[in-house]
Amino acid sequence: MIQTKPSQVKNVHPFAHYAERILAGDTLLPDTPENVIEVMGALDSYGIVLDFYSINLNHVADTQFLNLFPIFKYFDGEINPGRMWRHFCHDRINYEYAEYTMKAMMWHGGGGMDAYLDTDEFRENCERAIAAKIKFNPVLQIFHRTFPEFLIEQIRQLCYYSGLGQFWRVMSDIFTSLAARYRNGEIEHIIQIVEHIKDGLVADAARPITYSVDIGGKMYDILPPSAGLTFLVDTAIPYVESIFFRGGPFLGTVSYNAQAQQISPDQSRFTYGALYADPLPIGGSGIPPTLLMQDMFRHMPDYMEEHYMKTVRQLGDVRVKICASFQRSMFCVTNAALVGLLPKGAGATEPDDIQANREFLMVWMDRLTTSQLDTVQTNPLGSN
């Protein structure tokens, strides 16, 4: 499915100019007032939504450990008739989106966490926690003896709950502080947004990712600090790879036939992620975007609503608009990540260093050739 261009020659590669832009300190997304409003509006609401997602993912990881029927997992411990009624009336955050994302990360794997989950050390950690958890549960004891991999696989999933929860905690704080700066009038250009995100990623790059559960008053390490898992390498990069780039072929207006090889059997060649998604057919590509767009709509800032109200359908097609704006904002996040990961740093001046940075960027440009990067260069969707 991916149409990787082998060329590394900057004058021939169709996306070479984007790499040059980054090298020149410019941004992937054009710096226009409309783009600033859209990206800020998207990240403002996304920051709030990520806060909810993060809290819930951590709640599931911490309090629903090996609960095989976590009926109230979306309630964050607040189980009362009022909350249940609001839940049934769908007056709630779509936590399912966070779980889809978690499962996509788990499926695609990558990074240190994925590797650690297959180690004997992790298995021993799991066995200790499982033994404590099912000490008074003979049914689960028999079950565990019969299917020894099942509960361990459940814990692997809980690790991703926790890992994504911790990752989004950081991202939520980055976006929330960015939104506060925007409201204070400090943010006027796309480059400032990219810088803010990059600084946030770099500041927390080495933040440890750990996971422990409380069973009977005793803490059990599942991902101990000694595993050496960190924010940037073991959650952020696998997240970008899984969610921004690869995604999953979600059935929408396009039907995929895996048996006819319409979906690559090689997961690394998947291009169904957020940077590739077509915002127009809602629910049509990548992780079902409708859920996230609904949540972002609930927390859409006023300036974004005013901006959308100037369009033909006003709020009638708001989820498509949010999806398109969100995609623009994700190119800013990608931009920030690429700048942060430049092998010779963003401020390189030596020709050899610049060339090394260019070669690093060209690899990514190869992958972005089939993305929506060209599309987001034009005016924002629906703003005519």
Binding site: T253, L280, P281, I282, V312, R313, Q314, G316, N379, G382
Partner: protein, 522 residues
């Protein structure tokens, strides 16, 4: 009481046309809605007062007019004309409601629409042959003007073609009526089902063939149909709604009312050939529809096909098939009106009806999801999906006609299958996939269609409701139709199952399709 049904739209036309001072388009539309709203309420009142136990004409009005030529103002309705009157009142209201709020020349446009409502109601109620003919002709003039003035780019051509075809239709019908009165020695044009009884077979045949061709143009039947696709494509949406929903029914109504019983001796002899004619019409209409890339033309050709079922049922000449004849008229009236309404909304919002460029109109955010859903339901009804009115009408038609003409019925069933083919092609092309309204998929901007208002949706949703109401409870319609059609069947001096043409058929001894309790389809 029937006078009021004719007078209300006529007075409405006069009021709008002669309104003192400046009359905005919106006010003219509102006035039209008021008059046609009253008209519909009054029609429903007539419906409520209609006595189902009487098979004779009811609400008769008789005023001598030009006595020496036999033209009298004779009105009356029975179970054949009553449902058609109601449909006329409803679809006239729908067509005014669906008209643009800023239409040009509203002082002319709305009166013309109201005159059509008046003339069609008059034709359905007229019990004098000449009076029927006058109403039949009156309706041509406003329709010609509505196409010629408010139509598309080729409106002049389409309107003139329509006028020529239907004028020939009128001449043939008039000739047949004059011949009938003259040959029967009748003192006037007041209609009597037994007028032609006793005439030589050949005379009856000539008169019936003239009627068949005359009404066959109006229905229209292949190969007399060529005016219809042009007229539909050039007419604006409200006019197409009226044309398909009501005006074509004048043809089938006229043929059924004045042809079948009056010339029953010849009718039953010609019935097998008429059934084959229906087959040709159905298959031609369906196959031609498959080949179309203009949504409106496709729907127009589907009309040609579906009106063929009416002829098939009328030819089958048994009590059940007669119920099917009327039911199919009403069912087609609702379904085709809905189809044209929806196609009109698509055209209004996208600027095209071209199936080679339209895609993904069901897109929930940027497309026309509710209107698109109405389209999906309309095509389901048209293809005869159970639970909807199209299934009931086609089931009754086939159940009635199979015992008389099995091969023809089976071939027409193929037409029903083809309906699913062309409408699925339409829905699949225009409504599914990624939203697009131009050929160039690489447009810088994705299409943003104008907002669909409730004015666009409401008439379609009302008709969708009727699809289900009569689809789930067909007896609400058959109870009005059945006593009259059974009486018409009983009045036929010669029955098909006793005719020489039918006795040769292997199914001649099969049980005759009967309908005695108003729930005959089920």
């Amino acid at each position: 009481m029937l006078n009021a049904l004719l007078l209300i739209p006529l007075v409405g036309a006069l009021v709008i046309g002669c309104w003192p001072g400046k009359l905005t388009s919106e006010r003219a539309r509102n006035l039209g809605l008021v008059f046609l709203g009253i008209n519909l309420v009054f029609s429903l009142y007539v419906l409520s007062q209609f006595d189902l136990s009487i098979t004779e004409l009811q609400f008769r009005e008789s005023i001598p007019w030009i006595d020496h030529i036999g033209l009298n103002y004779e009105l009356g309705i029975d179970g054949l004309s009553l449902p058609l009157l109601i449909i006329n009142s409803l679809l006239s209201l729908v067509s005014v409601y669906a008209s643009e709020k800023d239409i040009r020349r509203p002082r002319l446009y709305y009166p013309l629409l109201l005159v059509i409502a008046f003339a069609v109601a008059g034709a359905f109620a007229a019990q004098n042959l000449l009076l029927f003919f006058i109403f039949y002709e009156i309706e041509l003039i406003p329709l010609y003007l509505l196409i010629a003035i408010w139509g598309g780019a080729q409106r002049g051509y389409a309107a003139t073609k329509f006028l020529i075809y239907t004028a020939i239709s009128g001449i043939l019908i008039l000739a047949s009526f004059l011949g009938l009165v003259w040959l029967s020695g009748s003192s006037g044009f007041d209609y009597n089902p037994t007028m032609a009884h006793g005439l030589p077979w050949i005379q009856q045949a000539v008169l019936l063939v003239a009627l068949l061709i005359g009404f066959g143009i109006k229905i229209p039947l292949f190969p007399l149909h060529t005016w219809l696709p042009d007229a539909h494509v050039q007419a604006s949406t409200p006019i197409s709604v009226l044309l398909a929903g009501v005006l074509l029914k004048l043809g089938t109504y006229g043929l059924f009312r004045f042809g079948v019983v009056t010339f029953s001796e010849v009718w039953v002899d010609l019935a097998p050939y008429l059934a084959w004619w229906a087959v040709v019409s159905v298959l031609y209409g369906s196959l031609a529809a498959i080949a179309q890339t203009d949504m409106k033309k496709m729907v127009a050709y589907s009309s040609v096909g579906h009106m063929g079922y009416v002829l098939l049922a009328a030819a089958a000449s048994n009590p059940l098939s007669y119920v099917g004849t009327v039911f199919q008229m009403l069912s087609h009236g609702i379904i085709s009106a809905l189809l044209f309404l929806v196609v009109g909304v698509v055209y209004k919002k996208t600027g095209t009806r071209d199936l080679t460029v339209l895609r993904g109109l069901l897109n929930p955010e940027r497309g026309l999801p509710i209107v698109g859903s109405a389209m999906v339901l309309a095509v389901m009804a048209s293809a005869g999906i159970p639970g909807m009115v199209g299934f009931i009408s086609e089931f009754i038609v086939y159940r009635g006609s199979f015992v008389s003409f099995a091969p023809q019925t089976l071939l027409c069933l193929l037409g029903s299958g083809l309906t699913a083919v062309y409408f699925l092609l339409l829905v699949n092309r225009a409504f599914f996939g990624r939203l697009a309204i131009t050929e160039d998929r690489m447009d810088e901007q994705d299409p943003v269609l104008p907002v669909v208002t409730w004015q666009d949706r409401l008439p379609a949703l009302v008709l969708v409701g009727l699809l289900f109401v009569f689809g789930l409870s067909p007896s609400w319609m058959t109870r009005w139709i059945e006593p009259t059609t059974t009486a018409m069947y009983d009045a036929m001096p010669i029955k098909l199952e006793m005719s020489s043409a039918h006795l040769a058929s292997p199914l001649a001894n099969a049980s005759m399709a009967n309908c005695s309790d108003g729930d005959c389809a089920l």
